[in-house]
């Protein structure tokens, strides 16, 4: 079994060409979750943007946040939409709210049995999946149901 949740060969994330999301992807390499927070009005913002949607400040910080969340929604795709997924069978993607970061949402896979029952509202913690041999290396952020 692969060490990764989904088979290799799927597109890898890149912060090119504008570098906007680079602090996030650098953080994931160190096992840290960094989310944008406005230095002007303290609004949380995700995904990254150049400007704060609330106060229009361009002065946005990257705040490290706790790696726990709550399942807001989910899906279990069956149909393979990419050649790397052919034969993989169903898998689970979750939309996770981060209560410690203004309930911004992130998408990841839910680690474990692909047939597990998924409960909206369930508490989850982040799992950092390091792709060290990729060029360039990168890290995905998955989730697992909290104990």
């Amino acid at each position: 079994m692969s060490e990764f949740y989904l088979p290799e060969g799927l597109p890898a994330p890149s912060s090119a060409p504008d570098g906007l999301a680079e602090p996030y992807w650098e953080g994931t390499r160190e096992g840290k979750l960094r989310i944008q927070k406005c230095r002007g009005c303290h609004a949380w913002q995700w995904g990254p943007e150049w400007i704060c949607h609330r106060c229009h400040s361009f002065d946005l910080a990257w705040e490290e946040v706790a790696d726990n969340g709550r399942i807001y929604s989910y899906q279990r795709p069956h149909h393979p939409v990419h050649k790397a997924l052919t034969g993989r069978g169903p898998y689970i993607a979750v939309l996770v709210e981060l209560p410690d970061a203004g309930n911004v949402r992130m998408i990841g896979n839910l680690i474990g049995d692909a047939q597990q029952k998924v409960t909206i509202g369930a508490k989850v913690t982040a799992v950092f999946e390091h792709h060290d041999n990729a060029t360039p290396p990168y890290t995905l952020v998955h989730w697992k149901v909290a104990d």
Binding site: A21, G47, P48, S73, Q75, H78, A93, V104, G108
Partner: protein, 394 residues
Amino acid sequence: MVERTLRGRTAIAGIGETTYYKHGQSPDSEFKLALQAIVKACEDAGISPHDIDGFASYGNDRSEAGRLAAALGIKELRFSNMFWGGGGGGVCGAVGNAAAAVATGMADCVVAFRSLAQGQYARYGRGTGAPLVAGDDSFIIPYGVMSPAQRFAMKVTRFMHDHGIRQEALRAISLACYHHAQNNPNAVMRGRPLTEAAYDSSRWIIEPYFHLYDCCQENDGAAAVIVVPAERAKDTKHKPSYLLACGQGCDHRSAAPVHNMPNYPSSHFRQIAPRLYEMAKLKPSDIGNVQCYENFTGGVLMSLVEHGLVAAEQANEVLVKENLLAPNGRMPLNTSGGNLAECYMHGLELVIEAVRQIRGVAINQAPRNDTSIIIGGPMVTPVSSIILGSEAAL
């Protein structure tokens, strides 16, 4: 002060569509399909193609206005317009943009059209082949979330969860579309009726709410409508279908990255629909028949709710097949078969069907045909919807 409105200022005077094909089966190129649909719409209106003076489209249509104008030998191009956004979110916006150009005197005869041969270009149901993805995609695609169905599935999951709506409500939408297609000679799914059992046993595209039959087809074809000033429409061959209102755009931050729109379980019409009815001077109960874009049945459900046509709390009771059929249902829906069963012509086939309803010549004619609502591309950003009406509705 003159009232700022599109209500009654313009009308659809002509409609044209090609044969609709399963993807990859059109013998004609995409651009030729566009030309065929436009020429047919002109014939239907009794207008020479030389007299077209504008084009409006959406979904990054590849048939460019300049090439169309040259190919058709039009005398002067006065309006060329592309509605932002992929998919069919812009279908009604394109008609509205054509109407806005005509109503304000920028042009006199504008074609709103869509040409799409998925067999000749990329298919929508297949993800990217690129090795790297950036921007919003970088937070989504590496997790195996890349097709349109996958991008929208979690909105539907949450909406069904919040309101306790059952799969059967989505099934009724699909059954109604397939039912209507059986009478339509140009429907790709004619001769392939759908039963409850076949729906229930069809394979999952995505659990928990996307069976195969909840998803649109992929097709080849083209469709076009001709928008002219209201006074001129009276002199054309058919009963005019007046544009009573157009709403387009999306709700507050609907396109927020990585699924962070504040109103997540939404088709993005919550702010648009009230403005639409206000311009039309109509209420949801005034609508005679509904043509609602089915990328996926869950999008139809949320669109009907956001347009006030069904209350979320009553969706399980109201969304049953009998209620959605012409002629006897309380809310005839997608009376030509729609994207699911007629053709995925990015919703322009729904606009054409609404015109046939208003003319009273639809194959599955609704008894109440003074008004039709057309809802485009739910869940994408931006989206659009229009209301058409007969002279009686003015």
